[in-house]
């Protein structure tokens, strides 16, 4: 029983990691309709930025307030300079984000030689122990942050004008445009927001992992699966999808075989998708949108 509960806890905490990485990706995917292959590399960049700040004596939980705005600006630049000119060429957008992925990975490799870097600091050693249930402190923070971000983002999307504009664009681009919403500006804001969320993820995940230029690739496939599972553009979908994937992975790893856990949950993922193509919390029919260009 204790083992079962430990697996449950570790699955939920892993789910927090997936949720945190996926929320920004899902926002971009749902609103701008871009499959951003480079999102994992955005997280990786943020991790290295956090590492750099830590060498200056700034811990990751302060660094996040520097890294997230920086990534916001970086996202603005990428959307404005690379993706916006390709707005009517969705396949070329995939191509461009793949180019960015290769570029970012190798730029960091060239700068660091690929040495595995770890944040030094006492925080990663904190363990919360409740009657034999063990939870790493840094992972609990990630989970709490993912939950808080999901709630905050929901409030933002439902309570503010900018958020309502974003939701309008998710639901119907044409309609939104007719209602006087500046769709391009909404895209710009959303992509930057999604990048900033990658920044938050990078800063909070940095104390958990050994950094390498290729670490982004480890998150990205899972994150895509979470996004699709949760539903296009749905914030609670990404949150719950992340938890679902985390739990599946933990239970499959422990009770079946760690070597097969990826295969198992990918297959479950495809199976769920086939039964419910719009994802768990997606708007039915969203998956029909496809990779089509918007009429100019």
């Amino acid at each position: 029983m204790e083992t079962f509960l430990n697996i449950l806890v570790s699955g939920i905490l892993l789910g927090g990691i997936y949720s945190l990485v996926s929320i920004g990706l899902n926002l971009i995917f749902g609103v701008v309709r871009i499959v951003n292959f480079a999102q994992g590399e955005f997280v990786m960049l943020a991790m290295y930025a956090t590492f750099f700040l830590s060498t200056l004596g700034i811990g990751p939980y302060y660094a996040v307030f520097v890294v997230a705005p920086l990534m916001f600006v970086f996202g603005l630049a990428v959307q404005r300079l690379v993706l916006q000119p390709l707005q009517n060429e969705p396949m070329m957008q995939i191509f461009a984000t793949f180019g960015l992925l290769i570029l970012l990975e190798n730029a960091v490799l060239a700068l660091t030689r690929g040495e595995g870097l770890s944040l030094a600091g006492p925080y990663s050693r904190v363990v919360i122990d409740l009657f034999g249930l063990k939870a790493s402190g840094v992972r609990v923070i990630v989970f709490v942050a993912a939950t808080a971000i999901a709630i905050a983002l929901m409030l933002f999307l439902h309570r503010t004008m900018a958020g309502k504009a974003i939701r309008a664009v998710i639901q119907d681009r044409q309609g939104a445009r007719l209602m006087g919403i500046n769709v391009e500006r909404t895209y710009l804001l959303t992509f930057a927001l999604g990048s900033a969320l990658a920044g938050v993820a990078g800063a909070l995940l940095a104390p958990i992992y050994t950094l390498s230029p290729y670490i982004g690739g480890n998150f990205i496939l899972a994150a895509f699966a979470v996004v699709v599972l949760g539903g296009l553009g749905s914030v609670p979908g990404a949150y719950i999808g992340g938890l679902a994937v985390g739990l599946m992975e933990s239970f499959a790893g422990y009770y079946v075989d760690p070597a097969l856990k990826q295969a198992i949950w990918f297959i479950i993922f495809v199976a769920v998708l086939i039964v419910r193509p719009s994802g768990l919390l997606g708007r039915a029919g969203a998956e029909e949108v496809g990779l089509r260009a918007e009429a100019p």
Partner: protein, 337 residues
């Protein structure tokens, strides 16, 4: 909603079959020029062998990815099935790879049908992501299925030169083999483009709902296109197996080197055009090898930084690929005069 814009080559009515065949045969012959010029230089001949192989694989991908508009990122699975099938048939049963290519292609097509029948319910990015997930699942399974794939150790095919083994001492023979494969694939695509299936695939790409409304069985059309695409990919995997002779899961399932690369080559050359994948491969594969050879040793990842910049720049300035861009320029010039 206005129908999505398509490259010129898709909008134009297909010319008479004989003329199309002649035109493309001419273009293919043109792509043999580098081989003729460099045939005594084994380094470049080796690069050209990959170039032709990847041109053929991208052209095969283009059948369903370009004409059918189903952006698959899981073609690495069919590639790997073909490679493993040829290796196993050759090593265990002594079947000559030349013949083993046929069951390899058939197996890849069957696998493709099994995977695609459910996943074709998904569209656009959802389909792309699902196929990518299947690629990763198969990667893990291939690592695990020791008895079939050799697991992480992989399969090593011993060097036994001879046409029956598809193993050659001279690199130019490989290049010629790959070139022939590319010609076959492109001619199949030329024929397909004019066939009923070809038209239906284009219709599905343009507007799946409209195609269904017009009485096309869209699922059957997509499945046929996918099966053909996967079969050719499986054959390509078999040829790759006999060339490299080291088959391990990271080599066969690596997304950036295999599954995603087919799509990238098609995109840069001109997706949904007949010669686009060939042009794309002729550009990308030698460029990548050249950059790796000159910069790879100097700065870690240096050549990939350059390649990344080129990819981003290419997407911005060649929005419809080289062939798409060239043909609309040609069209524009013709209209002006």
């Amino acid at each position: 909603m206005k129908p999505p814009t398509l490259p010129y080559a898709l909008e134009a009515p297909p010319p008479a079959f004989a003329r199309a065949l002649a035109a493309h045969a001419g273009l293919l012959l043109l792509s043999a020029v580098p081989l003729a010029l460099l045939w005594s230089n084994p380094y470049w001949v080796n690069v050209l062998a990959y170039t032709y192989l990847f041109a053929a694989l991208a052209a095969a991908w283009n059948i369903i990815g370009g004409f059918g508009g189903q952006f698959s990122l899981g073609h690495g699975v069919f590639f790997a099935f073909g490679a493993y099938a040829v290796a196993r048939l050759h090593l265990d049963l002594g079947v000559t790879p030349l013949l083993a290519l046929i069951p390899a292609g058939a197996l890849a097509a069957i696998v493709a049908l099994m995977i695609s029948w459910p996943t074709f319910r998904l569209r656009g990015p959802f389909f792309a992501i699902a196929t990518m997930a299947i690629n990763e699942a198969c990667f893990a399974l291939a690592n695990y299925a020791d008895s079939l794939t050799g697991g992480p150790r992989g399969i090593l095919i011993p060097f036994r030169a001879g046409i029956a083994n598809l193993i050659f001492i001279e690199r130019w023979k490989y290049a010629l083999l790959m070139f022939c494969f590319m010609v076959i694939v492109v001619l199949i695509v030329v024929a397909l483009r004019r066939s009923r299936l070809g038209h239906y695939l284009l219709a599905v790409r343009a507007d799946e709902d409209a195609a269904r409304a017009a009485g096309i069985n869209t699922l059957a059309v997509k499945l046929k296109g996918m099966a053909l695409s996967a079969a050719l990919t499986g054959v390509g995997g078999g040829l790759f197996a006999m060339y490299v002779r080291v088959l391990d899961p990271p080599t066969l399932f690596a997304l950036p080197d295999i599954g995603v690369k087919f799509a990238l080559i098609s995109l840069i050359g001109g997706i949904g055009t007949i010669m686009g994948p060939v042009v794309g491969a002729l550009l990308i594969v030698p460029l990548e090898s050249y950059l790796r050879g000159t910069l790879g040793g100097a700065i870690p990842g240096g050549h990939l930084i350059v390649l990344g910049v080129i990819l981003v720049a290419a997407s911005l300035f060649l929005k419809r690929g080289i062939v798409g861009g060239a043909s609309s320029a040609w069209n524009w010039a013709r209209r002006r005069t």
